[in-house]
Each structure stands twice: as C-alpha cells, then as structure tokens.
C-alpha cells in the first residue's frame, strides 16, 4: 500500500472510488489517511478533490444515479404491497418503506431540477420472487446496496446542501436495512463500518433487475 501512496491521487481514488474492493472502511482510515500522514492532509485533499471531480459527472450525475436506485426501491416496495404476502408487522413495514422510497424519488427529482439538470427516466424493473422469504432476501440486498451506494457517492458530492440531503436519506436507508435484516433474523448492523461501493459496483448489483 505504501508504494501506491507515492501518488496521492491514485491512492485516494483507489480507496474512495473503488473502496468497495476493500472489505472495511477502517482500511480506508488507515490506508487513505496514511497519505495525509505522509504528505500532510492539507496537501492531499486538493489532489483528491481534483481526481474525484474528474472521475465523476458532478452532483446532477450523482443525484440521477441515486434516483435510479430509489426508483428501483420504490417500485419494489409498491409491488410488494400486493406480491410479498406480508402480514402484520411486516405489512406495516412494507407500507412504510414504500412511502419513504417514494418520498426519496420525489426529493431527488426536485433536486436535480433545481440544479438545472434533467431527472433520469424511470427504468422498467423485473423483480423475481414468489414468497415473503424471497421478497425479504431481495429487500435486504437492495437496502444494504443502497447504503453503500450513498456512502460511496457522498465524498464526491460538491454541494454541501446536496451532501446534507443525501446524508438524511442514507441514514433512513440504513434504518430500513436494519429493520429488514431483523425480519430475516440477520445481524442488523453486521459490521462496524458500512463499506462504500462505487457507481460501477452498484450498477452491476442492480442490473439484473432492470429490464
């Protein structure tokens, strides 16, 4: 790792943008911040910002990427109201999640427009599951992926207002993830750090559900 840190930009991009290759974010702290220790953080940060800025499509691009994920989740839970055969506590949870994701879609659409961008069109989705267990398994994948997607995109967001808004959404995604995991009798917070995923990794994860 130390050899890679010879070029701060590359080290940082590798850690931040392709961070999902590393299993834990404490690796990010120990690794990426080592660049700060060696070169001085004040010196590293501008390099990182520049490198990240070049590698991404700006806030509108990031918001549209998030909007695609929220479209997927909103549609998934909307369909689940009639398809997931949920009852009792789970039924209430599905309704809550459907409502939250729909609100995220609306907020992201409005924010893209406010920034002068064009909101991405809603893709067509196909979710394959036959029962409650199948629904819950997919839900866990989507929520965990959503958390990591926002965590990966966060450091690339330029506007502080957009970052604060994205933070308010990702925390809700994390809450959803924990609730769904409890339904699956899984650890609600499996790791001390929610690893970031790059846009490429997230798209790869959701592609099978886009028709």
């Amino acid at each position: 790792m130390k050899e890679q840190l010879q070029t701060p930009e590359l080290a940082a991009v590798e850690v931040d943008v392709e961070g999902g290759d590393l299993s834990r974010s404490d690796v990010i702290l120990k690794g990426a911040l080592a660049a700060g220790a060696i070169y001085g953080s004040a010196m590293v940060s501008p390099f990182v910002r520049k490198a990240l800025a070049m590698s991404e499509s700006g806030d509108v691009g990031i918001l549209n990427f998030a909007l695609t994920l929220e479209y997927l989740e909103a549609k998934f839970y909307e369909e689940a109201k009639s398809r997931a055969k949920a009852s009792g506590e789970l039924k209430s949870l599905v309704n809550l999640l459907a409502e939250d994701e729909q609100q995220h879609v609306e907020a992201l659409t409005a924010t893209v427009k406010k920034l002068g961008g064009k909101p991405v069109a809603e893709p067509k989705f196909n979710f394959e599951y036959n029962d409650t267990a199948g629904f819950l398994k997919l839900a866990q994948t989507f929520e965990d992926t959503g958390v990591s997607a926002y965590n990966g995109a966060g450091p690339m967001i330029k506007s502080k207002e957009v970052l604060a808004a994205a933070g308010g959404i990702v925390q809700v995604e994390a809450r959803h993830a924990a609730a769904i995991r409890l339904q699956n009798k899984e650890e609600p917070a499996p790791d001390a750090f929610d690893s970031p995923l790059s846009e490429k990794q997230v798209l790869k994860a959701v592609e099978p559900f886009i028709v």
């Binding site: 990010i28 911040l33 809550l96 965590n151 604060a164 809450r175």
Partner: protein
Amino acid sequence: MSELKQLKDPVSRRRFLAVGGSSTALAAFLAACGGDSGTTTNDTTAAMGSGGGTSETAQFGKGDVGILNYALTLEYLETAFYADVVKSGLFKGAELETIRKFGREEAEHVQALTAAVKSLGGKPAPEPKAEFPLKSAKSVLELAATVENLGAAAYLGQAANIESPEVLASALAIHSVEGRHAATLNTLLGESITPDGAFAKPADVNTVLESVEPFLVE
C-alpha cells in the same frame, strides 16, 4: 432552541435528561478536551452544511480534527455505556448479544477515530468519565435508543462540514451504522424505525452536548 423540537427521539428528551445521574461542569469537560475553549457557536446553518468554515466543533480542535474528536467523544460515551449495560446483568439471550455486538462496534469506531485524529496530526480527545443510570431493562433500552438516535443525528449534523473526502468517507461509513443501531433499538422498543420520517434530521453540537452532559462525571 428550536432544534430541540426537531429532535424526535423515540424517548422524550425530557425523560432522557431526567434520568441523568450526577451532573457535572460541562465547561470543565470541554476544557479537558483541549483546544480553544473560546466561542461556542450555535449556528444551525453551519450544522446544515452551508457554513463551511464555521466550526461548531472548534472546542474539540481545528477543522476535521475537531469534528473527529467530537465524534470520538460521543463514541467513547457509547462504548462505556454498552460496557456498563453488559455488566449490569439486566439483559440475557438475544438482546444481550445485540448489546455486546453494538458495544464492540462502538469500540471499533473509537479506534478508527483515534487513528484518524492522529493521522491528521491532531491529539485525540481524552475518554470522558461517565455514569449511566441502569435501573431496568426497559429504561436502559430507551436510553440506548436515545443515545443512538442522537449519535446518528450528530454525525449527520457534521457531514457537510468535513473538509477531507477521506474523513468524510469514514464518517459516512460510521454514520449509517449508528442509524442501523438506532433502528434496531427502536424496533426492540416497538417505536418507529424512522422517527424523522423519510429524511433523517441532523443535530447540532450544542444540542448533542447538552444531552450527554447529565452522564458526565468529574
């Protein structure tokens, strides 16, 4: 103090403050945390991220070091709280395992934040001495939920103030875990997993410090 109203914890804030044990001089604690104990701004716009340079966390150090030390102080309190709860004998079985797990994760946050402060050339904040009221399983779960919801809101309140993308990446990775903890405890209590609705609300530094003050001892 309109921020207080925004803090929709599952447990009322009044009760949270009321269960606090021995009170202490917060000023002494803050002074012990090092740094310039001068101005304490209560600028909510800074908390929302439009402030940039304004530093609510200046009392913990400059810039990102101050934010990391503020987070470290909260993580120390969470770690100590869970350790005390485990020792209290109030929980067993699955609930005890969850509490142990959350406690270990908070301890990992302490380690990571300590390393991050050092990497930035700063001095890690000292571990505050704290005492928590551990009367019944129910009241402890309520306190845990309040602490976790507040912790998540504290991270959210600082996210946009962080300058370094690496520090931000790390803070975000912790922030969502605090959100998971909060939702889990809310579920155990039969409370809403998303008390703020579809968009989680941030908490500013003063609100957070006032809330933990009752648990600090000299």
